[in-house]
Amino acid sequence: MAEPVAVRRRVLIALDSAARCEAVLDAGVRLAAHLRADVEAMFVEDADLLRLAGLPFVREVGRHGAPRGLDPEGVQRALAGYAAEVERVLGDSARRARLQWRFQVAHGRLLHELLAASTEGDLLMLARLGARPIEALRGAAVVSRALAAPVLVVWRDDEAGWRALNVAAEIAELEARPLLVLIAASGPRAAAQTWQRVQAALAEVGVDLRGLISYRQLPDLTPATVADAARVEGADRLIQTLATSAEELEALTTRLTCPLVLVR
């Protein structure tokens, strides 16, 4: 296995009331253990949600279309319960990995709070409830189950993009997952050329994924395109650079159905 590409001080995980906190936290802790970094989780109480609950005429429409009233105190209690659960899961997981860990509750917007809390050298993970899709097609395994769900990385030809690729390769190697590189190209030839560069760069840093690495050509890297690719490929995580606009990140996190890892 390749050595960690850079010494990182901390893996910072931000979550809202996403239901699958165990998987996200566990992945974060394993990554931190590999990077010999501390792990810190932040549960963000969504300010919009709390305000929404206070509006007297707003009703929550359940997944099956049944409307019900929103009680601010009830929402507050539910969020507190989520926060406690996240703390417990993080603590258990970190103790098993013998890692230093920290937990905090923030109030505001998930991406904003995460970016505000992050510092240079942090590896950021983010998992939130997006607005779409309403539901994924569960139980209909499209991708062969012989393979683990892949790690997807958005490749950009800049310094941050290369860092993101290296981190993705590390994670894939660490967890023995396939790595799928999303390359924006105008045509197959251009995509193949980029892909050769990517392979060469990974070989140079000693990443050995034994054939479990591939690429997918995308027409562009807009949040909708990337989120769609992640959903279709059944991604375990999407990794990309933080060097993107806040709007784009917001749009991406709204659509993503898997956790997002942001590399500074």
Binding site: S17, A47, D48, L49, R51, L52, G54, L55, P56, F57, V58, R59, E60, V61, G62, R63, H64, G65, A66, P67, R68, L70, V75, A78, Y82, L129, G130, A131, R132, P133, I134, E135, A136, L137, G139, A140, A141, V142, V143, S144, R145, A146, D228, R231, V232
Partner: protein, 826 residues
């Protein structure tokens, strides 16, 4: 005084002259393949095996040790070799009803082939199906379906979201679903801000949010329908993909089994099941290629495609001949095993095990009748199978409600088998008498002889049979002297100079033991001396009780006289059989007589130590006395007969001549010579009839006399009809030759009493009277005397009154018959 002479030495033993045997040792003799002296049984066997009709099963009768099993098995194997190997039988899963596995019939060897084919099919599909689902074509079509589903949601939700955004309203995800919220400055409007809005603006917002909520509800309610449609399409795609993967694999199998419609139906069911359960194949963890087979075997999901070959005749060319040594219910009709899983007992068609009936189907099944009858439920199960002509595996535990768990009802298998029951005669006759179904199912009886004629031809065949056994047992060769001795012993075993025993087990034992003693003596072939030694050793090993009895007689504990004379006392002869060893010894029989009413009391019977045959013998004596001596007057005696110092059960009538002689002695008041022992039964005319165990009885008395010293006066009286049974020991013959011991054969009791008393028995003269001084005259006179005495007593008793005292104290005289005397009262 008697004219009867002792039997000549050559009548005491029928030798087999070694000179008549045309070989030096048994090595020169060819093996004997046929069975000698069993023509009737072999004929029945040929008939029973040859006739392939329902109910023509065989019961082979005869005592153990005759070699019935070997004869039957050898013959059946010969017949079986002429027939082809029967069909293989398999059980496979019934996919519609797994509790009723289906039976498949295939030609010999094809069962195992089908098992291999199905195993390979599962192995192939374990890679072919995932590969089909990993193929780009499937992936693309499946993704297309998912995309379609996603886009339907996206479109519906996107349009709604755009409408909302136009009204500055955002669609937010909440922990439990979705909600619309009015926005201000990129944030959800707070309740306070909302409260500050003008009332009409608040209402407008409320209306807008309410309308959007309704729209959202409509969209969300459509999602399950979209999901169902997508799932159905995906399912159809999966089935199509599976069929593509499975179809050509199964088609190849179909071509191999095209002539077997049941197999084709099974393959159709397998294909259908795989299509419906394709996820079992797709969800396999990745395993190295060379372990796929083992993985498949381990995986319970794939058991249902396996084939349980319960009968495999692969590489067999003949019909089966099966001997079931332990015919329990399960071993006969098969069983259904269970596995303990998570604390419960479970089973499936793979746990069906065959029974002897399955293995013998299409051939022959040999069973021991006694074992079949003593094992619970086996006889009934066997009859049920034969009547129904099918094997139905029924769990005994289930039948008796001993196991309360899921079990199977496998499809019955057609049965075509010839059953050969081996057993003794008593069982055959009992079954015939008490089980009406027995006669219907076992129509052929093969009755084995226990003895064969000792003809010159049979003697030669017997020698070859001995040679065959010796070779089979890897024994040393027997010289002709030894063979002659064995033939003589075979005659002795059946107590007949003109017969030979067919009890092969006993003969083979003697061969083995003679071989042992020859080896001990360092001889390279077995001689007469070795056979003699083996016989002597057999007798010695078994003879402890015999020796103790002889010792008791020698020491005077058991009172047996072998010299002198006694009135009313005769040496009878009895035989005892213990542990297969037969020996004789003398027993003192005494008789007493007195005035009485014509009855002969059998004391053994009175104390219930006598059997029915013995009692019958004694009653015959009474009849004999009446018929001979008291035709015209009542037999006016009471006589008692007893086996002295006998404390066990006595049966048989072989002592009736001795008892009659004792009775005649006491009636005639004539002493009997104690140097004789007597054996034989008599009828009521005084004729002597043959008895069993004559050799042992003679030798029993000889041993007593020899121990005390032979005087030349001693001997045994036997029925003349038993002379042909004499195969006496060499020392008895030597004593007889030297005049120290004699065997007399008699035809009537008169001959016996003459020998015993030294007086003539006497015959009736012209006047109808027995000769003066004869035993019969003395007996008749004595009985006449008793009769007159009884008459005197009778007259004296007449008129004798009995006195009765009634309840009121009155005394009444009544006659013997209870009548009131003439007008007298007390």
């Amino acid at each position: 005084m008697s004219d009867i002479k002792p039997l000549s030495v050559d009548t005491l033993y029928q030798r087999c002259d070694p000179a008549l045997l045309d070989f030096e040792t048994t090595d020169e003799l060819e093996d004997l393949s046929e069975v000698i002296g069993q023509e009737r049984a072999i004929g029945a066997l040929h008939f029973g095996v040859g006739i392939r009709k329902k109910g023509y099963n065989l019961y082979v009768l005869g005592p153990p040790g005759l070699g019935k099993h070997n004869v039957v098995k050898t013959y059946l194997q010969t017949k079986a070799a002429e027939a082809p190997a029967p069909a293989d039988w398999c059980y496979v899963n019934d996919f519609d009803d797994p509790n009723r596995p289906r039976a498949l019939r295939l030609p010999a060897g094809r069962g195992a082939a089908l098992r291999r084919d199905m195993h390979h099919l599962v192995e192939d599909l374990l890679s072919a199906i995932p590969a089909a689902f990993d193929a780009e074509e499937y992936q693309a079509r499946a993704k297309e379906l998912e995309k379609e589903f996603h886009e339907r949601q996206e479109k519906a939700l996107g349009e709604l979201q755009e409408r909302a955004q136009a009204q500055h309203i955002a669609l937010l995800r909440t922990p439990g679903g979705f909600a619309f919220a009015p926005m201000r400055d990129e944030e959800v409007m707070s309740p306070e801000e909302f409260a500050k809005l003008p009332e009409d603006e608040q209402k407008t917002l409320e209306t807008q949010v309410g309308e959007l909520q309704e729209e959202l509800q409509k969209v969300l309610r459509q999602v399950p329908q979209w999901r169902k449609e997508t799932r159905d399409k995906l399912k159809a795609l999966n089935q199509e993909t599976t069929l593509l993967a499975v179809g050509h694999e199964i088609d190849a199998l179909r071509e191999s089994y095209v002539e077997f419609p049941e197999v084709l139906a099974f393959l159709d069911a397998v294909q259908q099941d795989i299509v419906e359960n394709v996820d079992d194949f797709r969800n396999q963890e990745e395993v190295p290629e060379n372990q796929l087979g083992r993985a498949a075997m381990r995986e319970p999901a794939f058991r249902r495609y396996q084939v349980n070959v319960i009968i495999d005749h692969d590489e067999e060319t003949a019909a089966p001949v099966v001997y079931e040594n332990n015919p329990t219910h399960d071993n006969l009709v098969g069983r259904i095993e269970h596995l303990a899983q998570m604390g419960t007992l479970v089973t499936d068609f793979m746990l069906i095990k065959s029974g002897a009936l399955h293995r013998a189907n299409g051939g022959y099944l040999i069973l021991d009748a006694q074992k079949v009858l003593t094992q619970p439920f086996v006889w009934e199960a066997l009859k049920r199978a034969l009547f129904a002509e099918q094997i139905r595996i029924e769990s005994l535990g289930q039948m008796l409600s001993m196991i309360s768990t899921v079990s199977l009802e496998p499809e019955p298998i057609p049965l075509d088998v010839k059953i050969v029951l081996l057993g003794d005669r008593m069982l055959y006759y009992l079954l015939y008498e008490y089980d009406p179904e027995f006669g219907e199912l076992f129509k052929v009886a093969a009755d084995f002889e226990e003895q064969i004629d000792r003809s010159p031809e049979n003697t030669r065949l017997y020698a070859r049979m001995l040679a065959t056994v010796a070779r089979q047992e890897k024994l040393q060769a027997f010289d002709r002297g030894a063979v002659a001795r064995l033939i003589e012993h075979a005659a002795r075993r059946v107590e007949d100079t003109e017969k030979m025993s067919t009890h092969m087990s006993g003969i083979a034992d003697l061969l083995r033991e003679a071989d042992h003693w020859a080896s001990q003596a360092g001889r390279s072939s077995v001689t007469t001396a070795d056979v003699d030694h083996a016989i002597t050793q057999q007798i010695y090993r078994a003879g402890r009780i015999q020796q103790r009895l002889q010792e008791a007689i020698r020491r005077g504990t058991l009172l047996i006289d072998s010299e002198g004379q006694q009135v009313g006392q005769v040496n009878g002869l009895t035989i005892i059989e213990l542990g297969g060893f037969l020996f004789g010894h003398p027993a003192r029989i005494t008789a007493t007589a007195r005035l009485g009413e014509g009855e002969v009391v059998d004391i053994e019977r009175e104390v219930e130590l006598g059997g029915a045959s013995h009692s019958k013998g004694v009653l015959i004596l009474s009849s004999f006395l009446s018929a001979r001596y008291a035709l015209d007057r009542p037999l006016s005696l009471t006589a008692s007969l007893v086996f002295e110092q006998s404390y066990g059960y006595v049966d048989g009538d072989s002592a009736s001549m001795a008892e009659l002689c004792a009775l005649l002695s006491v009636l005639a008041d004539v002493p009997v010579r104690q140097s004789f022992a007597v054996t034989g039964s008599v009828n009521q005319l005084g004729h002597v009839q043959p008895i069993g165990g004559v050799n042992e009885k003679v030798e029993g008395f000889f041993d007593v006399c020899k121990a005390r010293g032979l005087t030349g006066e001693q001997g045994v009286i036997i029925p003349s009809t038993n002379v042909k049974h004499l195969m006496l020991r060499a020392d008895v013959r030597e004593a007889a030759e030297q005049g120290q011991f004699a065997i007399y054969a008699v035809e009537t009791v008169d001959e016996a009493i003459a020998l015993l008393t030294g007086l003539p028995a006497g015959e009736r003269g012209v006047e109808g009277k027995f000769a003066e001084g004869s035993v019969n005259r003395r007996v008749e006179d004595r009985l006449l005397e008793f009769s007159e005495l009884r008459q005197e007593f009778g007259e004296h008793d007449k008129g004798k009154l009995e006195v009765k005292i009634d309840s009121e104290g009155e005394v009444t005289e009544v006659g013997q018959d209870g009548d009131e005397p003439d007008g007298r009262d007390g």
